[in-house]
């Protein structure tokens, strides 16, 4: 196995594009190292992205943010402006693994590992994040929900890497929230995750809302119906119940060691309702 840690995006792309055997990208390694040690993957080439400046920095851009794909989750939590504007994304990032894991894990890695249960992906979907992808053919922008196509599979072409996750500028009274359910309090994988991002109009009603769900389908979902159920309301019980029902209806989960179909469908609604209430309260207090 060959290990490379290039200093630029171009070098990384050229290494990956030129690889003859199987290659893996390391954007923290908190999934990859476990897979390597268990013998689940045996790549010929590992390309470490942690030494590329563009991938390890957060820049504010026209009111929005460009988050390098390999920025650690711990750094997200330490970024005051990002934490203030996108508390839901940051709380999702701070739920991954443990403190130690968060010092390595990244949004790009969490996304491209392509697990249906990735914690940050529903929050990023709710935030309408867009990925900057660079490959041998140049650069393109892809909505975050279009990256993962199936468990363990992405729409990235050979040699392509996600360089940054871009968050749009926020209207003033906007906020997001992310909740996940696990049977323990930490060190676990989401049984269900729900991210809600919303904006309030002058009168305090919701003018725009988006809901992302994780661990309830082969890929994380953008649930437009759930977001729509909140628009025009002040997140009263009826609106929250409607959003919960829409979230549950969108689920297409499996029975596995982490939860049953019935349980996931039910809890997806519960978490969506609760996350929406938190996001609404946060937006209203701005």
């Amino acid at each position: 196995m060959e290990y490379q840690s290039p200093g630029t995006v171009e070098e990384a792309v050229s290494l990956l594009a030129g690889a003859s055997g199987t290659s893996k990208v390391l954007a923290g390694g908190t999934d990859l190292l476990v897979q390597l040690r268990s013998g689940f993957v045996e790549p010929d080439l590992v390309v470490d992205l942690k030494r590329i400046d563009a991938l390890t920095s957060i820049t504010e851009d026209a009111g929005g943010f460009r988050i390098g794909a390999a920025v650690s989750c711990a750094e997200l939590g330490e970024h005051a402006a990002l934490s203030a504007a996108w508390p839901g994304i940051v709380e999702a990032a701070r739920l991954i693994g443990s403190e130690q894991i968060q010092s390595r894990s990244s949004l790009g890695g969490n996304l491209c590992n392509a697990s249906p249960a990735a914690d940050t992906v529903p929050a990023l979907i709710a935030a309408r994040a867009v990925c900057s992808v660079v490959g041998p053919g140049g650069q393109r922008d892809i909505p975050v929900e279009d990256i993962v196509t199936a468990p363990g599979e992405t729409s990235l072409q050979p040699g392509e890497i996600v360089v940054s996750l871009n968050l749009p500028a926020r209207p003033s009274r906007s906020a997001d929230a992310y909740l996940r359910f696990i049977p323990r309090t930490e060190m676990d994988i989401a049984v269900v995750g729900s991210g809600v991002s919303l904006t309030l109009s002058e009168d305090g009603t919701v003018s725009d809302a988006h809901v992302g769900l994780g661990a309830v389908a082969p890929t994380a979902l953008l649930v437009s119906e759930a977001g729509q159920a909140l628009v025009g309301t002040s997140c009263d019980d009826a609106a929250l119940d409607a959003a919960a029902a829409a979230a549950s209806a969108a689920c297409d989960p499996i029975d596995d060691k982490r939860g049953t179909v019935e349980y996931r469908v039910r809890v997806a609604g519960v978490l969506t309702k609760r996350a929406a209430a938190i996001a609404y309260q946060r937006a209203g207090s701005r």
């Binding site: 268990s38 049977p183 060190m187 060691k257």
Partner: protein, 754 residues
Amino acid sequence: MTYEDGKLKVVGTRPIRPDGVDKVTGRANFGADHSMPGMLWGRILRSPHAHARITGIDVSKAEALPGVKAVVTGADMAESSGSADAGESAINLRDLSRNVLAHDKVLYDGHAIAAIAATSDKIAREALKLIDVGYEVLPHVMDVDEAMKPDAPLLHDDMFTEGIEPTPETSSNIAKKMVIGFGDVDDGFAKADVIIERTLKTAPVHQGYIEPHACVATISEDGQAVVWCSSQGQFVIRDLCSQLLGMEAADVRVIPAEIGGGFGGKTTVYLEPVALMLSQKSSRPVKMTMTRGEVFRATGPTSASSMDVKIGATRDGRITAASAEFRFQAGAFPGSPVGAACMASFAPYDLENVSITGYDVVTNGPKVAAYRAPGAPQGAYAVETVVDELAEALNMDPVDFRALNGAREGTKAPYGATFKVVGNLECLEATKDHPHYKSNLGPDQGRGVASGFWFNIGGQSAATVAINPDGTVSVVEGNPDIGGSRASMAMMAAEVFGVAVEKVRPMIADTASIAHNDVTGGSRVTFATGMAVVQASEDAVEQLKKRAAKMWDVEVEDVVWQDGAAHTATKDAPLTLADIAAQAGRTGGPITGNASINARGAGPAFTTHICDVEVDRETGAVEILRYTAIQDAGKAIHPSFVEGQMQGGVAQGVGWALNEEYIYSTDGNMENPGFLDYRMPVASDLPMIDTVVIEVPNPSHPFGVRGVGEAPIVPPLAAVANAVYDAVGVRMTELPISPPRLLAAIDAYKAAAE
């Protein structure tokens, strides 16, 4: 000799543990830390099937791989018979041999089939893929109730249920039936005003020790073998290896490593005989370590259980009769702890009429191993749930109900013994008086209590103390330290000698350096080995007095030992231990003390726990809000370690109650062989666990010690379940109380109420 509580100077204090610095700095050597020149790496090929006949094993391609130095299979093992004494229980050697390497059938997912030693771990892993095994896959059975049915797939054609007269003529998965009790339960139930009867089930759970099994073994050309490994008893490892491989005990020297948790699961062998076989074949030392997946799939969980419990009481709260049937899953070979479950579960109660039946049942899972108070947590979960329900039906406080019917001095236990001095009622009284029990609860919160019992054992222990020329003391004993026992040994010796504990260094010797010691198990070490250390220290004190008499030229009868020195009426200045030690060469040579005992009179442990929970009614999640464990320790030698044992037992018991379970696919493969999906509690899942140490001294021990390590895992399963009931009104009769299961039960309860 006994020691008065008020005059103790070391016992009951909290010094730094002698092994602490090495453990927190990473210097301590655990099972996988030993290495040797020329060492090979061993790996095991394991069954992918829950039940299959092996039609052939072709190892030729693996043997031909460069770097592979030895391959062994079950065919390389001598045929074993008879049983070995493992301290707490007898081990059937024929079954053990077949568990270590399958002979003709694989009986569970993960069952060892063949092993390889190679010059690198990578080559050994590669070589495993080159072994061709032919399987004829057979139907399997996992559930204990299913396994007992007449048409269930049979694991062993030659198994006929023991304990039934006459012995059945058809084979079955029921290895053994047992019945204990006394009185007339039919008559007792006839006198009851209220009878509660429930069926409850628990899942298989693993001990979850952090350190996976690991060893290094070497055999030289003259047949002398050395094994370095982490275990709960170097002597049981030696005896099992030598008996399985047809060697003499003196030819196998086992050197104990530090142990990273055992909880009963490291009282038998898995890797050690295989590493010895590989070493014999390759003439090289062989190191073997298990992955976490191997630990889960192939080493001892404890039994899943299915239990019926029935208890009747009069309107004024007196229990008139109790009966139970316990069906315990043993895994692939007989030997579940159902016997202990039968004996222990009703022991907190003073009963007139009791009848308990137990079944030991084989299933296609790993052979169960001992786990902290084996059998008692399952049984207590069933009994204490029914007791809680009965108290409620009688409109009585659950602690008062337990105290009214509580076992006390003179109570005849269901297993026949009559209790001497025990602390059951003292624990219940302390529970009732505790601020926790009197505190208020909020919405969706509930409180549960449960009691527990454990026998504790004594057994064989040997100890030697040596007085060093500078007056320091070396204590040599033979029990691996899994709960702070080295500290306790040093403290008890220091108390006898009357010196500071820092002057005493405890050491755990290998099998060639001290006489036999039973395993570290049964909560026996501080009691039994502690007694041996006390007696060896007293032996040395006698020697010291004789030497002092010689130095003073007085009669030894005129010498007394006090505060670390010899005193005699005719001399003003005493002779300290250091004074005498310095002159040992001139007064007769080195000074030692020895004791070899079979300790009797282990005092049983009683305990009561209080648990508060909050239930999220929309997700079924249970949060442990507050937890208090009250236990009679007899006498706490080092109170911090007694408290630590109590807290650790609660943590494991809470895991058992809420989330831990073996999850199997329909093919019988374990789906969660790792700590991610086998959900033991993490630190943030638990509040600080409060402890109350009750001290009702055990008259059989010089300091009054009772074993403490096992009893604390007995009550939590029921305490949590009773608290959940109190919070949401749902009786959880199956563990774990995982969120999906609890949410479904809450829904069903709501639906029934509407």
